[in-house]
Symmetry: C2
Subunit: 405 residues, 2 copies
């Protein structure tokens, strides 16, 4: 992947400090080690799942589903998949019914993922599914070591996989949480990790990504009062769910009280898809308040030769300029045109990430890139990237309501 | 629908002025008249489309697709539909191939919608589709009266429908732009318009919605420098695409230069879905910068009896509190708990919209409610809600690139 910044950022001391702080997190914060993990146990687990299983359903919410969904949906259109993957991540009965209509229970394996082992939404759905499929061998549970859910899984004799307890939910896509369902669908998780490793090495070993990533992180942190909205604008429909993963990662990691002050901080993430959102959000980017940074994501080579044919339409001859153009060329020309138009404005910080292809290595790289940038910005803003204290109060209120009924 | 504000707003003069300004727009701005339109021509048009057509594809982008998609996706799970509806709203070749794989060309009718009649994305796709289906009777064109596209449609003998030229793209869902594809799918557009009319009458004729809507609009406009992000947090998966429609409506209408100043203004829209985004965005709402208003949207009666069964899981007995609860009750308890937790914080302006059911009347109401609020806030912020000058520069650059190749 390539990374180009279109804004000035030159603060070597802050860059140095951020880099040193992040280096120290290695070995403590678990996600840094995931690219080098041994995937033999996951591949062995996959071998145990019957060939007759055609569908995998992840029952999980937030960090338990968004990562696998991002990778799966990105690769689905261009990859030969072994199984279909669904996600049950709601308590909305209408949405649940829709999913149950689509799957054939007997040919489905359920992966129930809950780091804490007590997620309300996940267990509401799981208890319902149990009435349809009581057989323990149809289930895999993914949870922290020694959680009550681990004990339950052992007791009923279901499959059990542990994620390292120092890997947070929203940083867990490259752990067994994401890898197990993806591998079951035939996705090449070895190359996924190689993509992540590529970014890791480049960043930590003074490769070509180190300087732009540090500069970007320092710029975002230094200017967070002005630019408190960070958009990614991806010119690929397949990155739609990647943007949802990014929204959780960024919003939940960076929206919180500062460690050493009483300030409420927070960088607000927004995911946009081009060219669609040129007809929706672009007006606000171009003419609205100057409080948004924009990271464009492009696919360099779509490996696709679909062409706009050489057809001239009466009264619409002005549109002949697109004839004989490939769609892949057109979408990238659209992206470049929007970038140029925004760079012509003042005070809109733009940077561009270019992925070589729409493949598994690229998405692995992209994931690790955003995880690293998140950790860097958190460090520079003096917030803890790895907790989410703000969601506890709503959970407690719900618990009281449930106990009171 | 019900509307409840959990913030103080008492500015009778501003409310009065906004109301008077909006009243004056009637007859000039076209969307206000749509609830009373005569749908006989649309129903007659639907009769002309062959019963053998099983799929309708809208080829259009932005205002030409988002509205119909919002309504269709909201009703799809609970409505008996006559035909399937797809949307081609991209130039991404990978996404286009996915759609063409799913549809059977011979049983498909294409509705090509472009207000201006020259939208690049729409015609790139249309030219390609022409190579698969050259028969003019397989196409309906929706465009402004007297556009070049109207001339083209007449010349080839395709179906032609006009939208009123004073109805802007993002305010066009209740015009033929949304109604034609929805009616073709068997959706009850009469009741859709009745839902809109309900809000219109309540607002303009001093009904129960007038005061809270004016108060909310004044609050948003008066505090736009502090609260420059407006979230809707909908507790229904089916409102996912409604939030995308809202993002365009709000962002493109309110993100621009003030009429009488050189200020860049802009309220940033964000769409959230519960309970999923409790595990993603909620942390930022609860602990992040106090720059966000939140409008919760609830479905009062899901008309669904799916239950969490009375199952106790060993080691997980703490989860027995959800047993014998309907999913519909649970999701609304979750919503209420999050609302309570946010109201306990300071400086988070919350309001709640409750829809009686997940039905066509409700979505019609919701659409008109958000259109009205958008017009009101624009008036109070001194911006023109109905143009989008900021997107022109990117279009020009693309045109030059296309001419230069």
């Amino acid at each position: 992947m390539k990374q180009k910044l279109h804004f000035e950022s030159n603060h070597p001391i802050a860059q140095y400090k951020a880099f040193e702080a992040i280096k120290k997190e290695q070995g403590v914060v678990g996600y840094y080690d995931l690219p080098e993990q041994d995937i033999t146990p996951i591949m062995a687990y996959c071998e145990e799942i019957s060939e007759e299983i055609e569908t995998v359903v992840v029952v999980g919410i937030g960090g338990s589903s968004l990562g696998a969904k991002a990778v799966y949906e990105f690769l689905k259109p261009t990859t030969k998949l072994k199984r279909k993957l669904y996600f049950i991540e709601t308590t909305d009965p209408i949405a649940l019914r829709m999913i149950f209509k689509e799957i054939e229970i007997e040919k489905t394996h359920f992966i129930v993922t809950s780091k804490s082992g007590t997620t309300i939404e996940t267990f509401a759905a799981y208890k319902y599914i149990l009435t349809l499929q009581p057989n323990a061998s149809a289930y895999t549970f993914i949870t922290d070591p020694d959680s009550p859910l681990e004990k339950y899984a052992r007791e009923i004799g279901a499959y059990l996989l542990n994620l390292p307890s120092n890997v947070g939910g929203r940083f867990s896509v490259l752990s067994v949480v994401g890898l197990a369902p993806l591998a079951l669908c035939g996705i090449d998780i070895k190359t996924l990790l190689a993509g992540a490793k590529h970014v890791k090495v480049s960043f930590f070993d003074q490769g070509y990504l180190q300087e732009p990533m540090l500069k970007k992180a320092v710029y975002y942190a230094k200017n967070h009062w002005q630019y408190d909205i960070n958009c990614i604008f991806a010119y690929s429909e397949s990155l739609k769910y990647f943007t949802e993963w990014y929204v959780q990662l960024w919003g939940e990691s960076l929206g919180k009280h500062q460690r050493h002050s009483s300030f409420h901080l927070g960088l607000t993430p927004i995911g946009l898809i081009g060219p669609k959102d040129q007809h929706s959000f672009l007006q606000l980017l171009a003419d609205g308040t100057r409080n948004k940074t924009i990271t464009f994501i492009k696919i360099d080579d779509f490996e696709d030769d679909m062409m706009i044919p050489d057809v001239s339409l009466p009264h619409l001859e002005s549109l002949d300029t697109i004839n004989n153009l490939s769609f892949a060329t057109l979408i990238n020309m659209q992206c470049d045109s929007v970038i140029e138009s925004l760079l012509a404005e003042k005070n809109i910080p733009v940077d561009i990430i270019t992925l070589p292809k729409a493949d598994v290595h690229s998405i692995g790289s992209l994931i690790f890139y955003f995880e690293l940038i998140t950790s860097l910005v958190a460090e520079l803003m003096d917030v803890n990237a790895y907790d989410q204290p703000g969601v506890e109060s709503g959970k407690k209120i719900l618990k009281n309501k449930l106990n009171a009924r």
